[in-house]
């Protein structure tokens, strides 16, 4: 049933396919949609990687990885390049994903128009008739209030010049990466929606001519590995205002440190906290 919904979603990129979401051994909001999609696509030959905000070692990522180790008897990995299925919450890995890989997103609110138009009947009609003026009203409000488009995550995109889609709350820094060689599947368990992007689908972030889309990130290098092109987390290190910026993608950061890169406070991975 979920596999059929996935096929339909892949056939109509960006369209939200309703599906009968099942009870999962975890509460809504912890990735029930992602888990169902992962369970539907995993085969015994797959190698699974699970990340939460880019990190392999957070509670949720560890739990879901163990869950599938036990129930699906699949191998797991932390290395992006080795994985065939990657379940993610709120990030796209820094390492480029390629043909043969599947990226599964956990989605809290699949409807990009939801906060502007609360009626489901109306938002469906708006998708049906391509009435997307309202999405730009939100961006207009951002500029009117903050001077720039202040939306920094869950930044709306238009898929193949047809459906407006919520890319799940990934930072807008990741939006340009959505045009990729891997298959992208989105599962929203509580909202009972699945949508998908086949490889190399055209994904365009919405913007204004005079306020173009800007995939911003913190203006620092990673304190551990020195990377200047990766998305960074700001970590408060003491109660005197001390802070450091580190890669949100832990696998990417570890691999760079293993290869000898060092940031301002960097140590080899073996000694690092991760």
């Amino acid at each position: 049933m979920i596999r059929r919904a996935l096929l339909k979603a892949l056939a109509v990129p960006g369209y939200q396919v309703p599906f009968a979401s099942r009870e999962m051994p975890m509460p809504y909001g912890w990735g029930t949609g992602g888990v169902q999609v992962s369970a539907a696509v995993l085969t015994p030959d797959d190698r699974l990687k699970v990340i939460d905000q880019g990190a392999d070692d957070t509670t949720n990522a560890v739990s879901i990885r163990k869950f599938f180790e036990r129930t699906a008897q699949v191998e797991t990995t932390e290395r992006t390049a080795d994985a065939t299925v990657i379940q993610t919450r709120h990030r796209i890995p820094e390492t480029e994903l390629v043909d043969g890989q599947i990226l599964v997103y956990q989605v809290p609110i699949p409807e990009p128009l939801r906060f502007l138009e609360p009626r489901e009947t109306e938002t469906r009609k708006m998708h049906e008739l391509e009435e997307y003026g309202l999405m730009h009203v939100k961006l207009y409000e951002d500029i009117a209030r903050h001077g720039t488009i202040a939306t920094s995550y869950a930044y709306p995109v238009k898929v193949e010049n047809r459906y407006v889609m919520d890319p799940s709350p990934i930072p807008k820094f990741d939006n340009p990466k959505m045009r990729m060689g891997a298959i992208q599947l989105f599962g929203a368990g509580r909202e009972q929606r699945i949508y998908a992007l086949p490889p190399w689908t055209d994904v365009v972030s919405l913007d204004f001519e005079d306020h173009p889309f800007d995939p911003s990130k913190a203006d620092h290098p990673c304190a551990l590995c020195g990377a200047e092109d990766s998305y960074l987390d700001e970590v408060i290190v003491d109660d005197a205002g001390g802070r450091m910026f580190v890669c949100s993608d832990t696998d990417f950061c570890r691999a760079r440190r293993d290869a000898g890169h060092r940031g301002a406070t960097g140590r080899p991975a073996a000694e690092g906290a991760a």
Partner: protein, 256 residues
């Protein structure tokens, strides 16, 4: 002259009850038609049938579209009808809250229709929002305020600006001055009269206020129990009412 809107025998029933029955009229470009009658006489039902919010059970509503000539708006496809509703048509609700997005700034409210028809330049959208706020006499420094911070009269004027920004050719108004105090009403009517004349708008105004139609409308339809009982030039109908109900209506107006 070709009519802009041609209405023939429009009937809408609610089960066994009649909403409106066998209403016919033509509206010509630049003309304002008033529809008056007491509560429950079918004025709003008729207006909603004409504006595509309700599907009439029988009758024809034909509109002179920009590119396709006279088209029946009841049988045209929904995308086409909704396209008309945000370009050539405008609908001013009695309650401004029904016609505005209360959580979006005044500028965003005015700009929405522009963005809906494809405007993608923030500077231009903002400039026309400012222009329209000025035209409806709202201080342009309030462009980023939400309508919830506006008075009732300002909300109503904002709703009008939001509707007229795409230069529609036909405006539907449902009690545009209802619930406003008399001095605010007078200013609003003044504004509407100016806009109708300057933009050459055609309008259909539903109201129970005879003073409003006297000022705004060229022609008048009087409705009673779902039927149009009298129609004619506004002054003629109000000064020399023929139908018993119209006579009652005209004589019921309080003299100050």
């Amino acid at each position: 002259m070709k009519p802009l809107l041609s209405v023939r025998d429009v009937t809408k029933r609610y089960g066994a009850r009649i909403g409106c029955a066998d209403v016919s009229f033509d509206l010509y470009p630049g003309e304002v038609m008033g529809i008056v009658g007491e509560s429950g006489s079918g004025k709003s039902t008729l207006l909603n049938c004409l504006a595509g919010h309700l599907a009439p059970d029988a009758g024809l509503v034909r509109f002179d579209t920009r590119d396709g000539g006279m088209r029946d708006t009841i049988t045209m496809s929904e995308p086409e009808r909704r396209m008309l509703a945000r370009t050539d048509w405008a609908f001013v609700h009695q309650n401004a809250r029904d016609g505005l997005r209360m959580s979006v700034s005044a500028g965003g409210n005015v700009g929405e229709r522009l963005m809906a028809v494809g405007a993608r330049n923030y500077g231009t959208i903002r400039a026309s929002a400012e222009d329209w706020l000025g035209r409806v006499e709202i201080d342009t420094t309030r462009i980023d305020d939400r309508p919830s911070a506006f008075s009732g009269g300002m909300q109503q004027r904002l709703q009008i600006a939001r509707n007229l920004v795409t230069a529609p050719r036909l405006v539907f108004m449902d009690e545009p001055t209802g619930g406003l105090d008399v001095s605010v009403q007078a200013r609003l009517l003044d504004l509407l009269r100016g806009l109708v004349r300057d933009m050459g708008l055609s309008a259909i105004v539903v109201t129970h206020d005879l003073a409003v139609v006297r000022l705004l409308a060229h022609r008048l339809i009087v409705m009673k129990d779902g039927h149009a009982v009298e129609a004619g030039l506004t002054d003629q109908v109000l000064d020399d009412p023929q139908h018993a109900y119209t006579q009652l209506l005209v004589s019921s107006v309080l003299q100050v």
